[in-house]
Symmetry: C3
Subunit: 362 residues, 3 copies
């Protein structure tokens, strides 16, 4: 049960170079992505309407795609425009074409009703195209439901235990820091934590030239359906960063996109950007490697957690005080999905029809 | 849901050399095949009636087989003829023995009611034992339902797209050829296609010594439950092959047997025979390699197609004009299976009994 | 459907050296085993009550364990004793703690109602800690239900067929030996077999210095829920061992513990002990290797048998005369499980509660 009428991050623009036909399942639906000759990014149901062959095994022709089983050709709107050996093409023959938007090196897709796709709902993360910031986009495939990854990012106290030797730095983080503020937003939450006068954590220590104590801040912003932006930084301890003095601070901007593949698997996209030594590729690489190391620590725990939960559907989780943001987000998602289901209850016939005789955009 | 009362091709005779105990699942039933000392081919349920051990892990003794778990011995009719350490053998103790017929290097099995097994229903493919023709029998295992493979062979226009660089030769085949005739048969179909005045396709080019244009014909004959015979040839372009003049032609005979293993996996047997240079093993090998190459192109598409169809049981395929033979075959199978089910509705108790207390042939 | 209120063998003591956090699933329940700093063996549900993370990925602290996801700490009784960053700990927060007993190098666990756990019900196998006997404990993982392994040990005639060249020695064993006595016990059975005046079987021949004929005895004792003790030996043929003269005999004591992991997988623990040349490690190793070789022969047959049975739930096995002990054991298990279910029918609410809000021992 996924939220359909919202924008999902579907991939990095770099994944479509060299005329790549990218097959990616999203919310249980097989989707083919490619960049047409005109430069336009196209997203079509990755299933020929004739015999169900994968269009991603087909051939790009201009902005169109030809199924290489029996040669049917579809345009970017999903309409069948050629059946070799047959003159008449039934007008309803075609495949679903998904609204896509390319922005800040991100490819966004709208999985629900195309008529509701509103580009203005896409949240910008301008750091990705700002030359003052440098990062290295990447991808990890998760064997877990997407919400377990959202949960993970909802309580940064886990830095103390999961990431002690990588992103966290010490177990102190769990005892000495508390959320300075927790904002419950209409479609997410924002949590701010400060860790004052502590040693720099290993990932940061690797790219700076001293071991002086720092004041560290993390401002995590989670948004529906699984978009996470983190603003963080390290200032000299006691310099007053918490009051706004960022002099001498080194800052990071981190985006993570948690997009369901199926109920039990997830696409996890991320980039960790720095605003210092942006032309020193070793800094970028070091941060990227540290992030991967940390994310693997999460993945190890979360995938095992998923298997444990799978084995006993009756198991009831017990909340602790720190679960406030997590609970708010799950409640928000449940509410949005329920509302969407209720709206669909009336024109449901139309929804079913997509599988039978795809509506083809003009 | 398979058709039971018909002959299925179960294996090549060469698979039973050296006293091989061949375990092969057919229509979801585990079957043990072996050639008894007398030369007779035996097919028994591959499951000891005592504790369910695999008889294929047992030992051939003459025409009999001994289960190597507790030593029970069964004869070729499936009757238990020894229980070590026990004198009385309950007369009903035994396993199902399947009717088998060996002909033209093929082993045919009857999966339904043995009383209905009529050897005269087996279709001959005499080229396999005719010294004027030479081929190399082989086998491919498919991760798909058998009907997707039947579908594939029902429309040779796919040669243009799937096999352009192997068996097809050009995309022209999809545009310039149309079925010259489509015969709907009581238990199958026959489709004839001619491709006039074209370059020889790669597989044929490899075994001939010139690149002159040819007139090519393909006569495909599909029969229940998944037996495909292809008569094809290449004659000098314009020589009048389509009017019966086969002078200078090089011909092929191809048999393919598509036998269900389970609902989602299939045994695919084939041999591609040529009537020229039959003593030149390099020609036989070259054709065999080309066929494998082409069949792998099919397998790649079809197995992916199966996974796509599996993921969305509500997906409705949309037919095009070329699907006539395919639709006729599927309709024929459905009709035959429905008729068989209806007949079985009365003496169903007997069918169930096979699992409980196998009927043993005298 | 497992018997819960009984002791299961859960592991060898050597599996808990070096502060090992041992994750082992038993009867479908994930369990964490560790030896606390005090030396006490602890068995806890391997699932943090907070978010379901695996406690086996946590950290031992004294006799306690800390979940390394968000830092919750549990004592040996399963009670949560710390939530970092939170002062109040809800009293019901905790995980199930299983009764465990360590004895004769074996770790026993009680999977049912802790209030019923009665240590006196544990059956001793003192040979494991008796210096007059020497063996090498080991473990095999089975892809089959535990009862198929129990079945296997219920009829030693299988030695003739499965283990002819390893543990059995000849097919004669199936014809010339019959159970001298079969005792049906309240919670198991005991079967005695003698094989008089035969060549020593390969595993025994490897560790003795002559090939003289022997009188061989096997006394197998199977107990609920899957505990097998074998007393066996080889005496000079004709010396009267069957009348009590064990002079010149070489004896073995073998224990096998068959503990369900899931309905379709099993933990199989064993040790084969000898009372001669106990300080000759080569003898111990040779016997161990022979046992492994023999057990692999069983595993090969049994795992295939499981797959065959899985494929056709309607298949009815047919008993032979030798199946008496097997049938008695299955009948005993069924009866005990049914009785346990009936007892639980009343306070079932309590059982369900374990998953929701674990009862924590004081």
């Amino acid at each position: 049960m996924f939220l359909k009428n919202c924008w999902y991050m579907a991939g990095w623009d770099y994944e479509l170079i060299d005329s790549k036909m990218l097959a990616r399942k999203l919310l249980n639906e097989p989707v083919l992505f490619y960049r047409g000759e005109s430069g336009k990014v196209v997203a079509l149901a990755d299933r020929c309407c004739h015999r169900g062959a994968a269009l991603s095994m087909g051939r790009r022709e201009g902005d169109d795609v030809r199924c290489m089983y029996h040669g049917l050709k579809f345009n970017a709107a999903g309409k069948c425009i050629e059946i070799p050996g047959q003159e008449m093409i039934p007008p309803k023959l075609g495949v679903h074409s998904y609204p896509v938007v390319e922005r800040d090196h991100l490819i966004w897709i709208w999985m629900g009703d195309p008529a509701l796709a509103d580009e203005s709902q896409i949240i910008d993360f301008p750091y990705l195209s700002d030359p003052a910031w440098r990062g290295m986009p990447d991808y990890i495939h998760y064997e877990s439901n997407y919400l377990l990854i959202v949960d993970n990012l909802s309580d940064f106290a886990h830095l103390a235990w999961v990431h002690t030797h990588t992103l966290g730095g010490s177990e102190e983080y769990a005892y000495k820091t508390k959320p300075a503020s927790v904002e419950r937003l209409e479609r997410g939450f924002r949590v701010t934590r400060w860790h004052m006068n502590s040693a720099p954590p290993p990932f940061h220590r690797k790219v700076i030239d001293n071991n002086n104590n720092v004041d560290r801040w993390n401002v995590g912003h989670m948004q529906v359906p699984g978009i996470f932006f983190l603003e963080s930084g390290f200032a000299p301890a006691g310099a007053g960063a918490e009051k706004g003095n960022k002099e001498g601070a080194k800052e990071y901007r981190n985006c993570q996109f948690i997009t369901p593949e199926t109920e039990s698997t997830t696409h996890f996209f991320f980039s960790y950007l720095h605003n210092f030594e942006v032309d020193n590729y070793n800094v970028t690489l070091s941060l990227h490697d540290s992030l991967i190391e940390g994310f693997m620590e999460d993945k190890h725990i979360i995938e095992r957690q998923q298997r444990i939960l799978d084995e006993d559907p009756d198991f009831k989780l017990l909340a602790i005080a720190a679960d406030g943001p997590l609970s708010h987000f799950r409640w928000t998602m449940d509410k949005l999905i329920a509302a969407e289901r209720q709206q669909q209850a009336v024109p449901q016939a139309q929804e079913v029809q997509r599988n039978k005789s795809p509506a083809v955009a003009a």
